[in-house]
């Protein structure tokens, strides 16, 4: 039995393996793309969207890469905007720089992030130990820090570094901070990162800052106009426009840029899978043709031959495609779970992905019927 199965797999490797690879890759690509989009977009907006709030940022007209780093609000602009926009309910502050973090035994280069408590509403992070930076930490200038697990392992050789003291240097300024939280780091994230209250360092210490304003969703457009006017006083005609939160823009920008490549890859994988299915199926049918001739010669009725062949095809071909689809979804979800700690798929995305799977199954069945007709079996 094992020998027969081994021989079958060996003889039909093209029929079994290559279509599976194509289908699995296509499904992974499709699912991970949706996870990437929804994971980023939803985690960036879900908290505020749930409470009917919108996040506004602003950019400069002249910069092509506005989406990545050209949010022009600095701390002063942000505070000024909040004063002038009566509807502003929250301010999200993220300032970033390269820094050095050291313990008693070793030091490491880190991505230093000065944030306020609202920052945690727009990111997809999982806390392993301790807690995050809160409002009081910022208001009272508390010397506390949250690090990711990579930094924790590098500095203290343990993931649980709560209570440990670290020295940090950002933009030439030095502070001594106590670790109050450790974050999970996705495997692809090779950087050590730390988070602390943005106001522990002067604005000049940071390389760049993103400041966004949270307003009620129904007043989003009014506030966009007001924010543009406020900023126009300072930046004049260079002001590009106020827009929804930066991260959403980044993702749509990324998708706009790579959508053609993604589509080409998706089509290539699908065509590869289906083409190899056709060749493999032909090969398989040729091998079965002799059996069919024998069956016909001995008077086995056509219906029974078709049923027998269909059963085998279902088992050997269509079942393999079905398994590949399921495997593709599974791998994609695992990958998604690695990329985003909390992967997000909306119902409409699921419908699209499952429809794609059904489309592949439909095409496989049509190909099978067509090849059966070509070989004069049907």
């Amino acid at each position: 039995m094992k020998k027969a199965l081994y021989r079958f797999i060996e003889e039909n490797i093209m029929f079994l393996l290559l279509p599976s690879i194509g289908i699995i890759l296509a499904i992974i690509l499709l699912t991970v793309s949706f996870l990437l989009y929804e994971g980023g977009a939803v985690s960036a907006t879900a908290y505020y969207a749930k409470e009917d709030r919108s996040i506004l940022s602003a950019g400069l007209k002249s910069n092509d890469d506005l989406l990545l780093s050209k949010n022009i609000l600095n701390w002063d602009d942000g505070e000024k905007a909040v004063e002038k926009l009566s509807d502003a309910e929250d301010l999200i502050i993220v300032s970033e720089s390269l820094g050095f973090l050291s313990s008693n035994t070793c030091s490491t280069q880190v991505k230093a992030m000065g944030v306020n408590h609202s920052y945690w509403n727009i990111v997809n992070e999982k806390i392993l130990f301790g807690r995050l930076i809160n409002n009081e930490d910022t208001n009272f200038y508390r010397s506390v820090i949250v690090i990711n697990e990579k930094a924790s392992l590098e500095l203290f050789n343990t993931r649980d570094a709560i209570g440990e003291t670290v020295n940090i240097e950002v933009g030439g300024e030095k502070r001594k901070l106590t670790v109050i939280g450790v974050l999970k780091a996705p495997f692809y994230f090779e950087e050590s990162i730390c988070f602390f209250s943005y106001n522990l360092f002067s604005p000049d210490s940071y390389d760049k800052s993103w400041i966004s304003i949270v307003v009620p969703q129904n007043l989003k457009n009014d506030n966009k106009d007001k924010l543009s006017k406020v900023l126009y006083d300072k930046y004049g005609a260079d002001i590009y426009e106020t827009h929804e939160y930066n991260q959403l823009m980044q993702i749509s920008y990324w998708l706009d840029k790579y959508i053609k490549t993604l589509c080409i890859l998706l089509i290539t994988f699908t065509v590869f899978g289906m083409t190899s299915f056709v060749f493999g199926l032909d090969n398989y049918l040729r091998k079965h043709l002799e059996k069919l001739i024998v069956l016909k010669a001995f008077g086995v009725k056509d219906d029974k031959i078709k049923m027998r062949l269909f059963n085998k095809l279902s088992l050997h071909g269509l079942f393999i495609i079905f398994i590949s689809l399921a495997l593709g979804y599974l791998i994609a979800l695992i990958l998604g779970g690695v990329i985003f700690i909390k992967p997000v798929l909306l119902l409409k995305d699921l419908a699209i992905i499952i429809s794609f799977g059904c489309f592949c199954m439909f095409i496989s069945i049509m190909i099978s019927l067509e090849r059966l007709k070509t070989h004069n079996i049907l």
Binding site: E290, I293, V294, L295, A297, F298, G299, V300, K301, K304
Partner: protein, 212 residues
């Protein structure tokens, strides 16, 4: 043509194989072992397909076991093939992924319950002296054993007619003799056998030779 109707299995009149073979007459009685020779491969194939009720001759009359084949529908012809005719092809056409008994019962499994076809398979292999090899892989068989397995597959349901295409080209002279002995055994039990071959050795053992 005056012939006693009793025990006639094949009555073929003016069958057309091709342009040069358009008036073929064959009459075979029950239990006869006859040889047909002088046909090329294509003609042999066409004649076998007509005699085995796979195709109908474009003209003439073919009565098999008292049934006029020309007026029967495809469904009925399939039933006749399954119940009354067995074929041994010019090569054994056995499948390497199946063992001997699986090859022997291969087609019967599609028609009757596996348990019954297995019993019939074992019985015919025993009759042909191959019972010990029933679970052996086809690749481990000699050419003679493969030919016997092909014969067992054709004779598993005790058909009225056994059509033997030129399997002898597969066999050594001594094996040809042995194979003919097996065929004679079936003929003695009442099976009608038609051997299509150009082998002198095989033809020397048949009751009658029809030469075209």
């Amino acid at each position: 043509m005056k012939t006693q109707i009793k025990n006639i299995v094949i009555w073929a009149e003016n069958l057309e194989i091709n342009e040069s073979l358009s008036d073929m007459n064959i009459i075979v009685e029950k239990g006869e072992l006859i040889g047909i020779t002088g046909l090329n491969k294509e003609e042999k194939g066409t004649l076998i397909s007509i005699l085995s009720c796979f195709n109908k001759s474009p003209k003439g009359k073919y009565i098999f076991d008292y049934e006029d084949i020309h007026i029967l529908e495809a469904d009925k012809l399939e039933t006749i093939r399954a119940e009354k005719i067995g074929c041994v092809f010019d090569s054994p056409k056995l499948f390497e992924e199946l063992n001997v008994i699986q090859n022997v019962t291969f087609w019967l499994d599609c028609i009757c319950p596996k348990k019954i076809s297995f019993e019939l398979g074992r019985s015919i292999l025993k009759e042909l002296g191959m019972e010990e090899k029933s679970l052996v892989s086809i690749v481990e068989l000699s050419n003679m054993e493969k030919a016997i397995a092909a014969l067992a597959r054709a004779a598993i349901n005790k058909p009225v007619l056994l059509l033997i295409d030129d399997i002898f080209s597969w066999l050594k002279p001594s094996e040809e003799e042995k194979f003919m002995e097996l065929l004679l055994g079936f003929a003695e039990k009442g099976t009608t056998i038609i051997v299509l071959t150009n082998s002198i050795r095989a033809l020397s053992r048949v009751n009658r030779v029809i030469r075209f």
